[in-house]
């Protein structure tokens, strides 16, 4: 029997490089290193994924650095160092050694149990033509960054944060996101997407990465847009974008262009309509509440009869939480939900 050819150990190599970049980013990148780093990052989605994992791990280590014992006023950087008060005690050392064997054993046992309890559906392969059951859309992700800036990521979007001591760099890998940036002139906030970049100090803007263009809309403050990857310092050819202005950066040719237009408030509202709104109703008929959900979601809720339409409810609910709303209608208000199609459900 032939042995299958060995795959190169590519993932280990990627991890190794990602780990190196994570440590460099932590100490701050030189301009040359930044170029190298962005080049490496853009070479493969696997590079970005590996960086995301290492950045997360690095952040967790930062949290550990702030650990302190309950009776010490300041964190002890040598808390876990060999010979420290913490590790010198024989009981603790024994406990650490003991846990080193118990924990892997427990994880292995849990995996084994999960494997044997998992219903074996391999004997009955799923039909390729089987229609997926209708389901609610995932909620829109809201993320607060370590500097207090906030990102709302539209469904299907993906962003990656790469903060260092000299800059706050974010990569919009795909989709759409809205950024509310906390002012910090010493650390510029730069968002990159498909080779273009947006720089902000303290402002609010929306970015949508499509196949052919990057769309940037400013709703507060000023940002500068570049059709190249930005360095820390602003460049002379930066395109300034002010409130209510939109920049469309074409990505489909080698010679990218930035087109700036001013939008009306209606156009801005339409462009940002994906963002969840707090639906705040005080004794409103259910039909009004449902209409508000329907305006913000592609999944539409229908009401089965006029009696339901006139039930008066008070609520404070985010417009992207159709799922929670419908489930509570069923569990607390004696209604029943039935999917009519993948985009329509009816409450009776």
């Amino acid at each position: 029997m032939k042995t299958p050819p060995q795959q190169p150990n590519e993932f280990s190599d990627i991890e190794e490089v990602a780990a190196l970049w994570a440590t460099r980013i932590d100490r701050g990148l030189t301009a040359e290193e930044q170029d190298d780093y962005m080049q490496w990052l853009s070479e493969s989605p696997r590079h970005r994924e590996a960086m995301r994992l290492f950045q997360w791990a690095w952040d967790e280590f930062d949290r550990l650095a702030g650990l302190q014992t309950s009776h010490e006023a300041v964190p002890d950087p040598d808390l876990l160092a060999p010979g420290s008060r913490f590790t010198r005690g024989s009981k603790i050392r024994k406990l650490l050694k003991f846990s080193a064997f118990v924990l892997p054993t427990a994880i292995a046992a849990a995996l084994a149990i999960a494997f044997f309890l998992e219903p074996d559906d391999r004997s009955e392969p799923q039909l390729a033509t089987q229609i997926a059951a209708p389901s609610f859309q995932a909620r829109i992700e809201k993320r607060t960054l370590e500097d207090g800036s906030q990102i709302e990521i539209n469904r299907g979007g993906l962003v990656q944060t790469l903060f260092s001591s000299t800059e706050r760099r974010v990569v919009l890998v795909r989709g759409e996101a809205n950024f509310t940036v906390v002012k910090d002139p010493s650390r510029p906030f730069i968002v990159e997407a498909a080779g273009a970049s947006v720089r902000a100090v303290g402002t609010q803007f929306n970015m949508k990465l499509g196949d052919e263009a990057l769309d940037v809309i400013v709703t507060e403050g000023i940002v500068s847009v570049q059709d190249t990857l930005a360095a820390i310092a602003p460049a002379a050819n930066d395109q300034l974008l002010r409130v209510n202005q939109q920049a469309i950066v074409t990505l489909d040719s080698g010679d990218s262009q930035i087109e700036v237009t001013t939008l009306s408030s209606d156009q801005i509202e339409a462009a940002l309509s994906w963002q969840p709104k707090l639906l705040d109703f005080d004794s409103a008929p259910l039909r009004e509440i449902v209409a508000a959900f329907n305006r913000s979601n592609s999944i539409q809720i229908l009401l089965g009869d006029s009696e339901l339409e006139n039930i008066e409810l008070s609520c404070a609910f985010w417009s992207d939480n159709t799922e929670g709303f419908v489930r509570l209608m069923e569990s607390s208000f004696n209604m029943q939900a039935e999917w009519l199609s993948s985009r329509e459900l009816i409450l009776r």
């Binding site: 949290r63 005080d282 008070s314 609520c315 985010w318 939480n321 489930r327 509570l328 208000f333």
Partner: protein
Amino acid sequence: MSPIRAISLLTGIVLTLLALQACGANSGQRIEVPSGDATITLLEFARQAKVEIIFDAQSVSGIQTQSVMGKHLPSEALDLMTTDTPLVVDQDEHTGAFAITRKT
């Protein structure tokens, strides 16, 4: 560093991170809602706790909820507010949203 010491350290880190996460999840938040009519206090609670809530205004109108002052998880605070009232709290376990109804 020997493999055993490295594994021990990693185990310690994992356990510490889990403990940190557990502490963070249970720390609660400051909620100050005085006693009053449920139609007002429930919305005020939702605003302070930054949670989602829905209730039938007519059926809860006239019911006085208890005062809540202190650091609580939202579900704890709601339980305190509705103690000794005919109000029932329901929570959607997937999204954390609350529904308040009156016992029938």
